[in-house]
């Protein structure tokens, strides 16, 4: 059998889930869609004593439009978000980025919150959450707290989430009317993890927001590049984003190549977002 042995727990409420997470702190892992977790289990890259399957907890499968942000519950699948009218209206960059996440079968099962909690630095959604200045809601034995994307992602597959905490909701800020947006990505094959990916939102007030994945141990906002992009200097924005990157070399790409791609993709994403913004202003 591929995965190492574990016990299977099926809490029926959030309280029950948090209770078992705190009881087995550090030795329990949450299962939502399992599209990152089960491959790791199959490779035995991870093992733990208890699997906490949260799929039977009610009221976690939602997409809600709230004041200023789109709230995505822990059990909302990528594909529901991709097809959601609220997401298309309030944060169209989210369904756009989801096109790059795996393929339809993975998106049918995988969850937005799971992808964020997994915190792979080359994944699309953490970069998008970072670009927009979004946050996550964590519930644990000491209560409920909201963590900003920038304080949540700590490193490769590492977050500020405590072992007894459950990520119950991700909050993606809404894009105001008249915004332009784009997601650009370089991957070996469509649906693979990005070699480099860039999320961009050009807001009606003239500011530009960027989020980069695959170029650092965490997704990041290249702030100097955002300023240059807002001034319309696309090449400079690319150069500055590349200078802020600190990628590793691996089987798929050298650090140098990744940095060069950050520069290109930032340029392309900003151009695309600004064009769409103009189109929106005219339309």
């Amino acid at each position: 059998m591929k995965p190492a042995a574990f016990g299977y727990l099926t809490p029926r409420t959030r309280e029950e889930a948090i209770e078992v997470l705190s009881r087995y702190a550090g030795d329990a892992k949450v299962l939502a869609g399992g599209q990152s977790l089960v491959p790791l289990l199959n490779f035995r890259l991870t093992s733990f004593r208890y699997l906490v399957d949260i799929n039977r907890i009610p009221d976690l499968d939602y997409i809600r439009s709230e004041q200023g942000y789109l709230a995505i519950g822990a059990l909302a699948r990528h594909r529901s978000v991709e097809q959601s009218a609220e997401a298309a209206r309030e944060c169209p960059l989210l369904p756009e980025a989801l096109q790059f996440v795996g393929h339809p079968v993975i998106r049918q099962r995988g969850t937005v919150c799971g992808s964020i909690a997994h915190a792979d630095p080359s994944a699309e959604l953490p970069a998008l959450l970072t670009a927009l200045g979004g946050s996550v809601v964590l519930e644990g034995s000491s209560g409920r707290r909201v963590a900003d994307a920038e304080e949540y992602f700590l490193g490769y597959l590492m977050t500020a989430q405590q072992p007894d905490e459950l990520l119950v909701e991700a909050r993606f800020p809404k894009l105001p009317n008249g915004s332009g947006f784009a997601f650009e990505e370089l991957a070996r094959r469509h649906g693979d993890f990005a070699i480099v990916g860039v999320a961009c939102a050009a807001l009606p007030d003239g500011s530009v927001r960027l989020g980069v994945c695959g170029a650092n141990s965490v997704p990041f906002r290249p702030l100097k590049a955002e300023t240059a992009a807002a001034q319309g200097d696309l090449q400079e924005a690319g150069r500055l984003a590349a200078a802020d990157s600190d990628p590793d070399s691996d089987l798929h790409a050298t650090a140098e190549y990744r940095r060069a791609m950050v520069s290109k993709l930032v340029e392309r994403a900003v151009r695309h977002a600004l064009e769409r913004k103009e189109g929106n202003a005219r339309g």
Partner: protein
């Protein structure tokens, strides 16, 4: 560590199944090794190839990365559940008629993904077919005939 075994109840191709499993057992292993349903193929083990695609409550899942106990109380459909006795399902017939298979290894996954696609979108365009089938890989590279088969399957399914 010895984890307590679980009693799994599910329906497979319309038949109620109850068996004792280990928590770590994957759906594909239960289907193939415990139930003898070897039509579902095992290949990449990491949900990138599509060969192990089955339907759970009508939705596609990669059974290689789906724990069997996630199926508790659910309805599983595999390639073995499509034909009506000796009469092939219209999707299977379309793949036969339009050479939608070569070695055949990817075919059960292709057909189950097609079933889910047509249930959701009975009249898909070619770009829609290609986008939906992105997770199903054919190493014989017979994609053109597969897309043609799916188009014909859509027509046949609409008729029946």
């Amino acid at each position: 560590m010895k984890a307590p075994r679980l009693e799994l109840h599910m329906r497979v191709n319309g038949r109620a199944v109850a068996l004792e499993i280990e928590p770590r057992e994957l759906l594909i292993d239960v289907l193939r090794n415990r139930l003898g349903l070897t039509g579902t193929k095992k290949s990449c083990d990491v949900e990138v190839c599509g060969a192990c695609t089955v339907l759970v409550d009508g939705k596609t899942v990669s059974s290689c990365t789906y724990l069997a106990f996630e199926c508790e109380g659910r309805d599983v459909q595999t390639i073995e559940g499509l034909a009506d006795g000796e009469t092939l399902h219209p999707i299977q017939q379309a793949f036969v008629d339009h050479q939608g298979l070569q070695c055949g290894f990817c075919t059960p996954g292709m057909i189950m993904a097609t079933k889910a696609l047509l249930d959701e979108n009975p009249d898909p365009s070619v770009p829609e077919i290609k986008a939906y089938m992105r997770g199903n890989i054919c190493r014989c590279t017979g994609y053109h005939a597969i897309v043609t088969s799916i188009q014909h399957a859509a027509r046949e399914t609409a008729r029946s």
